[in-house]
């Protein structure tokens, strides 16, 4: 059994991955008073205004499904036992887009675009939880 690919933890993204293991969805937020936009994935500067200071804040964990696909052929053999599963893009309430998976079985997946979701944390490998999203309401 091949092992799942894991993220490379760096000084820039460590608060995000640590947050996942603690059950908190952490986002960066631009520290420039005139910007204050939320940012994902973790960056060294704000991709909206170029400011070099970003704060870490806990996100609501809520958002809406922007689009989705049911994966039948994963790009990595470690996921073969999990197919089919739903790979999704979520527009977080704070604005950034995050790619993730829909928690639970991939049963009836028609009309998912626009559906509200809430983050749940999934123990993907021994050391790392990943943020998945479950349908909310």
């Amino acid at each position: 059994m091949t092992e799942k690919p894991t993220p490379r933890i760096t000084a820039i993204n460590k608060p995000f991955w640590d947050g996942c293991n603690q059950g908190r969805l952490m986002l960066q937020r631009c520290a420039a008073p005139e910007c204050r936009k939320h940012v994902f994935y973790p960056r060294v500067c704000c991709p909206h205004c170029g400011h070099g200071a970003l704060d870490w804040v806990e996100a609501s964990g809520r958002g809406r499904i922007l689009t989705y696909t049911e994966i039948h052929r994963p790009g990595h053999d470690a996921f073969l036992g999990e197919v089919p599963f739903l790979f999704i893009a979520v527009g977080l309430d704070e604005d950034p887009t995050i790619h993730s998976r829909l928690a639970g079985p991939a049963a009836d997946n028609a009309g998912l675009i626009g559906r509200p979701v809430k983050v749940v944390f999934h123990q993907s490998t021994e050391r790392q939880k990943l943020p998945f999203f479950a349908l909310a309401g």
Binding site: K4, P5, T6, P7, R8, N13, Y41, P47, H48, L66, T67, Y68, T69, E70, I71, H72, R73, P74, G75, H76, A78, F79, E82, P84, F85, F87, I88, A89, T97, I98, H99, S100, R101, N109, I113, S124, Q128, L130
Partner: protein, 388 residues
């Protein structure tokens, strides 16, 4: 006509290696074979080459400079494409400006790779930081998963159906049937397309390119050299590149072409109605739809309706990917960004054989690539024109 930044530069040759499902050839050999094929078409020899624009995913830890050492080329201009499938056209445009400025007289533009499915997937999981860290851990399905997301969104936003993308794929397969070099030449029906094996819903097998081994090249030369070769000449009437557009908006269903197009057509002194064909970057049919819209060939959000109204085979109302494109000829890694340029040049030279487009005076080529956090980052395009 004098407004093009590429005045006095000509495409004098275009060549392609045999495409193979697998091979034990090294990428250096595939690069050389593509270069050799291009030079033969230009009636030039390797000793005439003064510059190289090269794109090859599997080349590292080697690079364009070590390839010069390997081949014995003394170069005054080098370019190595870092923009995936957008690289080949970008490299060609950079090379053309170098020739225009007198830095070199002959530059070879080459793209080649030697992939199979396993090597392709392994590369994508570690393609760049955002993919490695924020997509691969979810088992995202590689490029298929990413473009399934765009395909689903395009269908739901604009009302496109799988049949619309299917028409394009079936037409490209018909084109491939006239291209001895294409890997997938058996005729495909719309039913074959619709009922193929599921990959990443709504994408099925024939929405996805087949990784393979191959290379493509075009040769550029200054007017002084070009005029004495006795080969048909093609000029770059206009072109451009655009990256990370629109910034911070992954699911816009747009791409850099809408920014490239106005300036490119102004340089070329023509518009989308003056094109005899388009060679689009067809990693997935949805991206061809977005290119048709960005390049002004189809109205925004209506490429699927345009596809219903047009026959895109080589003898149709608006031919697209007349050699079969990557979807039917195969995607030899980085060569996917050059295959359409080579096909476009062959058409303009009247060397399209059984698939020759009638009155092919002017056409467009487009590139796309470097998938990062959920989309390709780089777009490129050029208008190519036969010189009578």
């Amino acid at each position: 006509m004098a407004r093009t930044p590429y005045e006095g530069v000509f495409v004098v040759g275009a060549g392609q290696t045999v495409y193979q499902k697998r091979s034990d050839k090294t990428v250096h050999r595939v690069i050389w074979e593509a270069l050799d094929a291009g030079l033969r078409s230009a009636r030039l020899a390797q000793r005439d080459v003064q510059g190289l624009a090269l794109t090859c995913f599997l080349l590292p830890p080697d690079n364009v400079t070590t390839v010069c050492e390997h081949f014995g080329i003394e170069a005054r201009f080098l370019f190595q494409g870092l923009y995936g499938g957008a690289s080949s056209i970008i490299g060609m445009l950079h090379a053309a400006r170098a020739i225009r400025d007198g830095n070199a007289d002959v530059v070879a533009c080459v793209a080649a790779d030697a992939f199979d499915v396993a090597a392709h997937n392994e590369m994508l999981d570690r393609f760049n930081g955002p993919m490695r860290d924020y997509l691969a851990p979810y088992g995202f399905g590689g490029a298929n998963g990413v473009f399934a997301l765009h395909t689903r969104l395009y269908m739901e936003t604009f009302g496109a159906r799988r049949e619309d993308f299917g028409r394009l794929c079936v037409a490209q397969r018909a084109n491939a049937g006239q291209n001895p070099n294409a890997l997938l030449r058996t005729p495909m029906s719309l039913d074959d397309y619709l009922n193929a094996r599921l990959i990443a819903e709504p994408l099925r097998l024939y929405d996805c390119v087949m990784p393979c081994v191959g290379g493509d090249a075009v040769i550029l030369a200054s007017e002084q050299v070009a005029r004495r070769l006795g080969v048909p000449l093609v000029r770059i009437a206009g072109g451009g590149e655009m990256h990370n557009y629109p910034a911070n908006d992954v699911y816009s269903l747009r791409g850099g072409w809408e920014r490239i197009a106005p300036r490119m057509y102004e340089q070329a002194g023509c518009g989308p109605r003056d094109l005899a064909f388009a060679q689009l970057y067809d990693d997935y049919p949805v991206m061809e739809a977005i290119q048709l819209e960005g390049l002004g060939i189809a109205p925004r959000g209506k490429a699927h309706e345009w596809l219903r109204a047009n026959d895109t085979t080589w003898r149709g109302t608006f031919p697209i990917n007349t050699g079969g494109g990557q979807l039917s000829a195969g995607q030899a890694g980085a060569s996917g960004g050059m295959i359409g340029v080579v096909e476009g040049v062959l058409q303009l030279r009247g060397e399209g054989g059984e698939r020759q487009v009638k009155n092919a005076k002017r056409g467009i080529v487009a590139g796309y690539g470097l998938v990062a956090y959920g989309r390709g980052q780089s777009a490129s395009a050029a208008v190519l024109e036969r010189v009578d």
